[in-house]
Amino acid sequence: MYDALHRQKEVDVNEIKIAARGVQVHYGDNHAIKDVDVDIEDKTVTAFIGPSGCGKSTFLRCLNRMNDTIPICRVEGSILLDGEDIYDKRVDPVQLRAKVGMVFQKPNPFPKSIYDNIAYGPRIHGMARNKAELDEIVERALRRGAIWEEVKDRLNAPGTGLSGGQQQRLCIARAIATEPEVLLMDEPCSALDPIATAQVEELIDELRENYSVVIVTHSMQQAARVSQRTAFFHLGNLVEFGDTSTIFTNPEDPRTESYITGRIG
């Protein structure tokens, strides 16, 4: 089961894409994230693991300021994207989210055609000057989302009519259509069957060539399979952060060991 662990993984040292320092998140009175420091590398898949309610999704949503939509949520500390603080007053969260795309737990295609689902982002960002360019962007995104072959004949069919796995790949394609630099994935496979999960995981591995990918997952096997770096969260603390192979084979912290061996979680 842990085959991937034993596979020799080349862990290149890439430049740091996102640097989080001293991040604290409060939900009203609830202290959800306690003083977290994390470096997210470019062209790397970083996995956040941990038991339910440990704050991994909350932290992920800090990285593109999706938490801004929750009025009671307060974020402190600094998160630097390419050296710029994304919580700076001058930063427009909308511009940030075009650079840091997001894929959600539940596939959430727009109730529009497959084409319009992909074309929506490029359209509002003015990425295409004409229909031909837009067509090209849509095709490229669907190809990179590994779903082009399945939907190329029915681009005008509703996106919500696809199967769960196809919908999620459509959402990934939609997220990469706007050419983000970082892709955040919040448990992207939790609603999918094993075959669809395998397809999405394969896709994540390919995306690593161009993007920095951060994935939150409940499944330790998945973290082991797709990521190069893993962060283990527990009760709002970042317990351990390091190379995936190290975390799974030789964890430093006893809590990490308990979790990956199934004693807590």
Partner: protein, 443 residues
């Protein structure tokens, strides 16, 4: 079940059989059947009242749409025309010719009747002037037979549909017992017939002693202009307010207060809005009295809470994942709302709007306070813009005015007015359903 029991070759003792319902299941099933029966009974009661209502309205309202007319073929020669025009009492002369012609028709069919010119006037109104107008306008018709359809008074209508009988008739300057003999004679001679009363649909309100001439057309136009004002004001204001409150406004004490007050406004009796309209729009702002514009403003105040509440409910019903998805690809909050949330909420918004408009359409009390009473609707507005400011009435106020008049013949008109009001409402609903179908492409 253990291995031991299997080896004994005896079946394990079964606690219960699936083929026998236990007491609890029976009770549960009975409760379910009872509930279904209650539901069906409730629906049947509702349907029963609906049928009773519809039948009553249609049966009482239909007489307003028909009218008894006297159809006579009449020839006026050039000499008779010149003769009549030379007389002092010109219309009286025309009337004499007409009576002579009618007597001839009756005699042809073997009916002898003595004609009292006053009786003819009571039954058919001032026919002399009608005839004169016709021939002065169409001199070419002189000397050849022209068939006239002269509408009989509403008392004659009442006599035919059973509202007026010989036993209950109170002799008055409107109708004498002897006139009914004439009516019967005309009827026997086949000169009377029932015709569709176009005047009821296209006409304006008439005087209190002329129920036959009353029409609802002017009030329909008044209601139309009012609804236009309500729609144009309350839909954009209501939707904008709801979107702001639901999607953008910070959640604090102040917005909570606004929210509570909007809900309270929806429950304010309509007459309060009428007084408010009178005080603010007419007395303070000096807008014209009895104008559909003012009526529309008052009804907008009444409709806004309904639209805001239903719009907020339908915005809330759009799954948050759609907002996340839009924000996730870098849409701004406003883009997320206008590109994705609002189209999905549109069917609900339309439903709320049509409910609000239907309420406003049927509202009477506030209109009476701002002077849009029925008798104001004496004519059509001169132009489109005049339609907003010229004194007019609205359908419910017109119906109320008719129902309050002492002449029972107006009672039919009130029922007929209700039918027209309901047809107007159905037309509005139809438009809303068509629009909703277009938006309802929810996959």
């Amino acid at each position: 079940m253990t291995d031991a029991t299997l080896h004994d070759g005896q079946p394990a003792p079964r606690k219960s059989s699936l083929h026998q319902l236990d007491a609890l299941t029976k009770k549960r099933n009975a409760a379910e059947s009872r509930f279904k029966a209650y539901g069906i009974v409730a629906i049947l009661i509702g349907l029963f009242f609906l049928v009773v209502l519809t039948v009553t309205i249609v049966r009482s309202g239909i007489p307003a749409f028909t009218q008894t007319v006297v159809a006579v073929e009449f020839t006026l020669t050039q000499e008779q025309f010149d003769d009549a025009e030379s007389k002092l009492m010109k219309t009286g002369a025309y009337q004499d010719y007409f009576i002579a012609a009618m007597e001839g028709k009756l005699a042809e069919r073997g009916i002898e009747m003595d004609f009292d010119p006053a009786a003819i006037e009571r039954l058919l109104g001032k026919i002399g002037s009608n005839l004169r107008e016709h021939y002065r306008a169409n001199p070419g018709d002189l000397g050849r037979p022209v068939s006239f359809e002269l509408s009989a008074s509403s008392r004659v209508d009442g006599y035919f549909n059973g509202r007026v009988t010989r036993d209950t008739l109170v002799e008055s300057r409107f109708l004498m017992l002897s006139d009914l003999d004439l009516v019967d004679a005309l009827s026997d001679a086949g000169l009377l017939k029932q015709a569709f009363n176009w005047n009821f649909i296209t006409g304006a309100d008439s005087g209190v002693d002329n129920p036959g001439g009353a029409g609802i057309g002017a009030s329909v136009v008044g209601s139309f202009f009012m609804m236009l004002v309500v729609l144009v004001l309350s839909l954009p204001i209501g939707v904008a307010a709801s979107i702001y409150l639901e999607e953008f406004a910070p959640k604090n004490r102040f917005t909570d207060l606004i929210e509570v007050n909007i809900s309270n406004l929806a429950a304010v009796p309509s007459i309060v809005f009428g007084i408010l309209g009178l005080a603010v729009f007419i007395q303070f702002m000096h807008l014209p009295q009895s104008a559909p514009l003012v009526g529309g403003l008052v009804l907008t105040l009444m409709t806004l809470p309904t639209i805001i509440i239903s719009t907020r409910a339908s915005l809330k019903a759009v799954p948050p994942s759609i907002r996340d998805a839009a924000l996730g690809v870098g849409a701004s909050k406003m883009q997320a709302v206008f590109h994705h949330v609002l189209p999905l909420a549109m069917p609900g918004i339309l439903t709320g709007t049509i409910i609000g408009l239907a309420q406003a359409l049927g509202e009477t009390a506030p209109l009476l306070l701002i002077g849009m009473v029925g008798f104001v609707a004496r004519g059509y507005p001169d132009g489109f813009l005049d339609g907003f400011v010229e004194p007019n009435s609205a359908m419910p106020a017109q119906i109320y005015t008719w129902a309050a008049r002492s002449d029972v013949a107006f009672y039919d008109k009130a029922w007929g007015g209700i039918i027209v009001l309901l047809v107007f409402l159905l037309a509005m609903n139809f438009v809303a359903i068509v629009l909703r179908r277009r938006f309802e492409r929810r996959w």
